[in-house]
Amino acid sequence: MSDKPVDAMSFEEAMAALEQVVGALERGEVPLEQSIALYERGAQLKAHCAKKLAEAEEKVELIRAQEGRAVGTTPAEGM
């Protein structure tokens, strides 16, 4: 598993790490005592992915809004 801090991960890295964590928990590969620590790492990764997704969504919205304004301000020729 990557030792990179969660905050420094790209979306893809965090998703891959999250899949590893969930897989290990579901396959029962983790001792009882360590299971909660891994779960907490999974929760951090999930939050990080959600944050990255929300940032991407905001960017898309911003681009859409800018395009909308651009379309709206284009002079309608021939009318």
Binding site: V22, L25, E26, R27, G28, E29, V30, P31, L32, E33, Q34, S35, I36, Y39, E40, G42, A43
Partner: protein
């Protein structure tokens, strides 16, 4: 009538390595939780190997016995350790649950709590795991079915971890309804709703991390209590782990002591109030004491 509490000094002689959460001090926390409750204390008798053999193969029993070290520890998996006193402790837990089942079925008591360790609900037929050696609650259910001839028993496991061992031991047992609620994903990784047993008699209810007692109450009201009402058990056994408590270090649910009182009060509505509860997890000592006080407090009220 009364509520019987079974325990034994041998259960304090199952010693785990320093830093292990399933530790001897849990017994003192439980005693603290029980202080002041008008329960009747009994010593767990030593369990009979024949009771264990209702659930585990003879080869497994022999292997566990042979693995017990004369000093120090023997390690059976990443979590599960044997000390010189572990076998006797596990057999006291088995004996306690069998004696409690006997007392509640024959009318010696209405409710009982067995405070034994090591816990049992992760032990599969042939595998010691998750701090557990023998499937004590399943052994208790088999005692009720085979020895007393009951035909409908139910087990509710509210420990925060899935009762994979109990599920494995009772997978084919159509006379026993087994319901486990547990945080998921978490150790041991099993306990999906699709795992239903050979006769559809197993119910798994995964709970999301961070879930509160309020969330638990909704699941129990919607799913567990109706299932118990349909099943009409003659005896209800509880795998009582207290590690869904908000303060527990090994899990991420947010239950409080009063949630255990609420749950116990409702569970005592089934099986004519004949309830045998047996200790599983619970690793924050203060939370364990408070939760045991809440749980056994209700068993005592209902046992009168």
């Amino acid at each position: 009538m009364t509520c019987l509490v079974y325990t034994h000094a041998d259960c304090e002689r199952h010693v785990t390595p320093p830093g292990h959460p399933e530790r001897v001090e849990r017994m003192a926390a439980i005693k603290l939780g029980l202080a002041g409750l008008a329960v009747e204390h009994r010593d767990c008798p030593l369990g009979d190997e024949a009771e264990v053999l209702r659930c585990h193969p003879a080869g497994y029993l022999a292997r566990v016995k042979a693995a017990v070290p004369s000093e120090g520890w023997a390690q059976l998996d990443g979590d599960t350790f044997l000390s010189p006193g572990s076998y006797a402790a596990a057999m006291r837990a088995v004996g306690g649950v069998c004696a409690a089942v006997d007392a509640v079925i024959t009318g010696g008591a209405k409710t009982a709590f067995v405070a034994g360790r090591p816990p049992g609900h992760h032990a599969e037929r042939d595998i010691a795991m998750g701090f557990c050696l023998f499937g004590t609650v399943a052994i208790g259910a088999k005692r009720a079915l085979e020895h007393h001839g009951l035909s409908r028993v139910a087990i509710v496991d509210f420990d925060v971890h899935h009762g994979n061992g109990t599920q494995d031991l009772l997978w084919d047992e159509e006379r026993c309804l087994f319901i486990s609620s547990h945080q998921m994903p978490l150790y041991p990784g099993s306990g999906r709703p699709e795992e239903k047993g050979s006769h559809g008699q197993i119910m798994n209810l995964p709970l999301r991390g961070g879930g509160t007692g309020h969330d638990m109450r909704q699941v129990y009201e919607r799913v567990v209590f109706p299932a118990l009402a349909d099943w009409k058990p003659e005896l209800l056994l509880i795998s009582a782990g207290f590690d869904a408590h908000a303060d527990d270090p090994l899990a991420g649910l947010e239950w409080q002591a009063e949630d255990y009182a609420w749950l116990t009060r409702h569970l005592c509505e089934f099986a004519g109030g004949r309830v045998v509860s047996t200790l599983e997890g619970g690793y924050d000592l203060d939370a364990l004491a408070a939760s045991v006080a809440a749980h056994v407090g209700v068993l005592e009220e209902r046992g009168r």
